[in-house]
């Protein structure tokens, strides 16, 4: 095959805003960038189940318990779609999990923070899923077809989660003084980690420019962060909550100016030394090791019976 023809075809697809599919030729750097990004995204979905799952048993009403179970189930489903999308690039889920467990692939550092109160669950839904939507809606137009399609499904559910999180927050804010304080404290805890979630500012982002050229990324980290702030500040006002940024103000151009993220403060969380980093990975590794005998049983059964569902997943 003529490599230059392949490259030309690839460049044409990307510049025409068409989708690259698994069977298409793609540059090795493009494939590697996608694998890293999709895997990191998948890992974030499954690690994110921990801080929220922490509150399923204690949810304060049966309605909230049901909503939270459904949400965490959705996040597990997002992990499944995303690992599936990564597998179209020639990697195995088991290998990606191994990279997560050994600290060689990352996940969103926001999940390295704890959820000490029920309001943290509401705040993760409102702010965390809100940020996820800002990040992910542009990815529905990503140049890589399987990732774009996975994002279309995921975004529908994330916006549902965001609305439920906001509604849970609104109930707290309209509740007793203790509930309102719980809501404010949670906003104070989550505001900066969520702004951090958009990634380093554009000058500092090593991968941004190339990802833009490849049609993987559509907007810069700073643009997305600004959009999120612009959308979220009025919601906080509506709730009667104070954003923990004394310099926040609305400018004449209709955008909010805010204090730049203090990256030094997040250096530890990002490099895997956040308050819960060890705990999150240890929990994942324990679960994986505890389940080894179950996966081995499914494999042994499949070998004996020629079972097509070798992974043992229920039909």
């Amino acid at each position: 095959m003529d490599v230059t023809t392949d490259e030309r075809d690839f460049d044409r697809l990307v510049s025409a805003d068409e989708r690259v599919e698994p069977r298409d030729w793609m540059p090795e750097g493009y494939r590697r960038t996608l694998i890293r990004q999709i895997a990191q995204h998948a890992h974030s979905e499954i690690i994110g189940m921990q801080p929220e799952g922490n509150w399923i048993a204690r949810a304060p009403s049966l309605r909230r318990k049901a909503i939270l179970i459904a949400k965490v189930q959705d996040e597990a489903g997002h992990g499944l779609y995303l690992y599936g999308a990564a597998e179209t690039l020639g990697v195995e889920r088991a290998d990606l999990l191994e990279l997560l467990h050994t600290g060689r692939q990352k996940y969103s550092a926001a999940f390295n923070y704890p959820t000490p109160t029920w309001a943290d669950v509401a705040a993760i839904g409102w702010l965390g899923d809100g940020a996820a939507i800002m990040n992910q809606v542009p990815l529905t137009r990503c140049s890589y077809g399987p990732y774009a399609r996975a994002m279309t499904r995921v975004c529908k559910e994330e916006s549902f989660h965001q609305r439920q999180g906001f509604e849970a927050m609104a109930v707290l804010c309209a509740g007793t003084p203790a509930q309102k304080q719980m809501a404010q404290d949670a906003l104070d805890r989550w505001w900066w980690p969520v702004l951090m979630l958009f990634g380093p500012s554009d000058e500092a982002s090593a991968h941004s420019a190339r990802s833009m050229a490849w049609g993987i990324k559509r907007f810069s980290n700073d643009e997305l962060r600004q959009r999120f702030v612009d959308a979220t500040v009025p919601q906080a006002d509506h709730l009667g909550l104070r954003i923990p940024d004394p310099d926040l103000r609305l400018e004449a151009d209709g955008h909010y100016r805010f204090t730049p993220v203090d990256w030094n403060e997040f250096a530890d969380a990002i490099s895997g030394n956040g308050p819960c980093s060890r705990e999150r990975i240890a929990h994942r590794v324990d679960a994986h090791e505890d389940g080894a005998w179950v996966r081995a049983a499914a494999q042994a059964y499949a070998d004996k019976h020629g079972d097509r569902a070798a992974r043992g997943a229920a039909a």
């Binding site: 189930q73 005998w293 179950v294």
Partner: protein, 261 residues
């Protein structure tokens, strides 16, 4: 409906409330146990499936507790019943509250309970109480999925590796003594059976046993001998595992009396 009688008078509201409370507590407590697997299932597909089952069970619990509380005077809400009753007021069968143990025990318990739920809800669809019948109509479809999931795994664990077989058999033997309580006659159920409002446990038991024995044979697992039959859940007698479960479930709600969530 089994043992249909000509005396199909409307069942007493208090009996329906008691009956619905027991079945509602069953699924609430089992959902609480299943959700302990969140983010620690053997693989992601099972995180999804176990949460899916837990979600179905919470939905059933909400329906059943609302029905039970609505038949009381003055009425109580689903949350009044879930969060403001003490241990001795819960009416779930003890099998629901047992520690989930390893995946083998969790699957064994789920299989035995779901295999009971299927004929129970199926029979209850013909209840002379229209609310019970409506709840059962939805629940039976869910229970069929649950029993399918649990059967899928029980067969693979039983007929998998020596270790999985040992663990599945041990899990089965841990929970087996507690199944007797599901079929025990009690005066409330007997009156509801007479009124055509509930299926007869004596009719459900052989249906359950046949289904269970067929799957255990497929799984190459032995039917455990019944050495003792703990009982009392329906009268508020619970195992030592139950108090901590309830304390965790109720803590936040009780910390803010009168608050809305």
């Amino acid at each position: 409906m089994t043992r249909q009688t000509s005396r199909n008078e409307a069942p007493a509201g208090a009996d329906v409330a008691t009956y619905a409370l027991g079945l509602g507590d069953d699924v609430l407590v089992l959902a609480q146990r299943l959700s302990e697997w969140t983010a620690r299932a053997p693989q992601l597909e099972d995180d999804v499936a176990l949460l899916n089952i837990a979600l179905d069970l919470v939905g059933q619990a909400r329906n059943l507790l609302s029905l039970a509380g609505g038949r009381e005077n003055p009425g109580r809400t689903e949350d009044d019943l879930a969060f403001w009753r003490d241990e001795t007021e819960f009416r779930n069968a003890q099998i629901m509250e047992l520690d989930g143990g390893d995946f083998g025990r969790t699957i064994a318990r789920q299989f035995l309970v779901s295999a009971w739920h299927v004929p129970l809800w199926d029979g209850l669809r013909a209840s002379t109480d229209p609310d019970l019948a409506a709840i059962a109509g939805k629940a039976v479809k869910e229970a069929r999925y649950h029993v399918g999931y649990a059967r899928h795994w029980l067969v693979r664990l039983g007929d998998g590796t020596p270790e999985s077989r040992r663990r599945a058999q041990a899990g089965l033997e841990d929970v087996w003594p507690y199944v007797g309580e599901l079929f025990e006659p009690d005066p409330v159920t007997e009156r509801l059976v007479t009124a055509g409002a509930a299926p007869d446990p004596a009719v459900i038991e052989p249906v359950w046993r046949e289904a269970v024995e067929a799957v255990l044979a497929e799984a190459t697992l032995a039917v455990p001998p019944t050495v003792r039959r703990p009982t009392g859940g329906r009268r508020g007698v619970h195992t030592s595992a139950f108090g901590p479960l309830l304390a965790q479930m109720q803590h936040l709600h009780r910390s803010h009396p009168g608050a809305s969530w």
